[in-house]
């Protein structure tokens, strides 16, 4: 048989547990548990929604498709803008080390609002127009993104090492800062290198 002191200890333990159970709702009002790592995702998938089969050798008047996606793990809702830009090998690309975007103007933009933990994915179709290749030089006259055609008039030169006229279609992720009331480059970008050929 238990002694009276043992019984008293059991009562004390039960009392303590009860107080803790009753304090949980109050504790949840005041205590904020630390969240995980905060980050955003920007990705491009091939036509089969896999990280393969990306368009590479591209020609004039042909339509190509990839999937563009954004994921929000910032801990709260976010307002993103994805800028689609186009450059040749000599034009500036974003600099991840310095956290600086490319100075080139965007060809197209997506405005995306996401809750925490949510992601957005959309097909991105593109094609090139008025492509000319001659005497180690190429020119891309027009680029169409999601059916919207824009004049780009982008020259390129023959890359002797990699054997091709290379251009990059790349996307930059910008995020709206509520406190600063401005969009900031989020230091996330993905690019798709294409080898321009005169005719498909």
């Amino acid at each position: 048989m238990w002694s009276l002191a043992d019984c008293r200890n059991v009562f004390l333990a039960v009392g303590l547990m009860g107080v803790m159970v009753f304090s949980v709702p109050s504790a949840m009002v005041f205590v904020r548990l630390p969240g995980g790592e905060r980050f955003s995702e920007l990705y491009v998938l091939g036509p089969g929604r896999m990280a393969e089969g990306y368009p590479f050798n591209v020609g004039e008047n042909e339509s190509y498709m990839v999937y563009l996606g954004v994921g929000n793990d910032l801990g709260s809702s976010a307002y993103y803008v994805v800028y689609v830009k186009f450059r040749n090998q000599t034009e500036p690309s974003p600099n991840a080390t310095a956290g600086v975007p490319s100075s080139l103007p965007p060809m197209y933009e997506y405005h995306v609002f996401l809750e925490d933990g949510e992601s957005w994915e959309q097909p991105l179709t593109f094609s090139f127009f008025q492509v000319s290749v001659a005497q180690n030089r190429s020119v891309v006259g027009g680029l169409s993104v999601d059916g919207v055609t824009l004049g780009v008039n982008r020259p390129g030169v023959w890359d002797d090492e990699n054997k091709g006229y290379f251009y990059e279609l790349f996307m930059e992720l910008w995020v709206y800062g509520v406190a600063s009331d401005a969009f900031q480059f989020h230091n996330r970008f993905v690019g798709l290198w294409v080898n321009m050929t005169a005719a498909s």
Binding site: L4, C7, R8, F11, V14, G15, G18, V19, F22, S23, V24, P25, S26, V29, S76, S77, Y79, Y108, E109, Y110, H111, V112, F113, L114, E115, W120, V148, L150, Y176, V178, D181
Partner: protein, 162 residues
Amino acid sequence: MRCWVSLFAVVLAACTVLSVSWACASGPEEASGAVADAERSLRDAFRVVSDAEAFGANVSGLLDRLNEAGGALTSAGVALAEGNYSGAVGWAGTCRALSEDVSGDADVLKSDAVARAAGWWLTVSFSAVGAGVFVAALFLVWRWFRRTYEGKLLESRPEAVA
């Protein structure tokens, strides 16, 4: 009389031409101004939504509508770049209307969330009262238990034989 009728006809025609040109032919300045206004409305709407979310409101539906407004803003930008100024004004108007709608609804959601958040002291009070009642009840049970225990202990004490 005929002079007045002619004058009236000329004024009417001028008004018609002016109003039609005002309604249909938007210039580049007007279009880019409309797109800038739409951008501002969209940012403002998101700020209100973000504020409501910070107070614990469920903003899923509002974000879906903001995505619609964002699509309209993209279309407005494209129309502007293509030189379709009246189209740009139209899309920008759609974006602004959607954004202002969302702002209004987000304000309502925020008020509800603020009212709910203000009830935190009720939670704390219930917790404190609950814990107090539990401890008091346990103390009473302990007293009863101790008395019963001691009583049983006394009953089971071996009696001295004379």
